[in-house]
Symmetry: C2
């Protein structure tokens, strides 16, 4: 009788270990699947680290907008820059930061939205340990495209980390 | 010996049935978890069915935009309407349709984007068997807000279903 009890216990443990492994794999796949296309690796000098850009839309110039999906690998970020017509960021994956010049950095995560006023110098990018993706909608582009400035130094980036949620 | 084999088999089956139930529940939760807040139920007459709206942004009027997250229950849809300044839809959940007046309906699913030109009369809404959510970014709002028209009849909606992906 004791022998049978041991056999039952072992069988159940073996089955459940197998099923829990499958569950965590499922969760991992669903967590990391992006909603919008990642696009191509950015090769210009307006970013630090590895960044991917997928521009969207048919380019209807009468709408005065340009928009796309931007994906940052951990620690990757934009240079300091501003938008004459303003921009909206919709965070769709991971964790990162937005910082307007002269203000504390603002931690961001999936589901957050940032309304960037016209001509405010700022940067955005990924947290040190997380990929980060956002839709970026540039507005009133007839007032001009992004105005790029210098890169965000490691010292500036490390300051931002102090404001983690 | 045969008895022991039967006991092992029953134990494994019982364990796996339990674990598969847990797995499908997990998958369901992750599949239906929205990225952006669902907001409040819409009570005006510009929609058919049950629709939720969460407006976003600090309302910086200098940006000439308004934006929010719209969630449609199955079969729910907007009335026919147009935007003097145009609008962008970013589909974040489920499946639905976009139809411009006089054109076939376009099936939409998570990850799709629609660039709606200025003054084009159209509707958007959920598929019959799926919830549907999109970010809606209205552009150039200094040219005027949405112009609403009549509801999308069941006949018009059923025509749209013929263009399922």
């Amino acid at each position: 009788m004791k022998k049978i009890f041991i056999i039952i216990t072992i069988s159940i443990i073996v089955s459940l270990v197998g099923c829990n492994t499958k569950q965590s794999e499922t969760a991992m796949e669903q967590k990391t699947e992006p909603i919008f296309p990642k696009g191509e690796k950015v090769t210009n000098n307006n970013f630090s680290g590895t960044v991917y850009l997928h521009m969207m839309g048919a380019g209807d110039t009468a709408l005065h907008t340009s928009f796309g999906n931007v994906t940052f690998e951990p620690k990757a970020r934009t240079n300091w820059h501003s938008h004459p017509g303003g921009q909206i960021l919709f965070i769709t994956e991971g964790q990162g930061y937005y910082q307007a010049k002269g203000h504390p950095a603002q931690p961001l995560r999936k589901g957050d939205v940032v309304e960037i006023p016209r001509n405010v110098v700022h940067w955005h990018g990924a947290a040190p340990d997380s990929e980060f993706a956002h839709l970026a909608v540039s507005l009133n582009t007839d007032d001009g495209g992004a105005v790029w400035s210098g890169s965000v130094t490691d010292e500036e980036y490390n300051q931002a980390k102090k404001f983690e949620k």
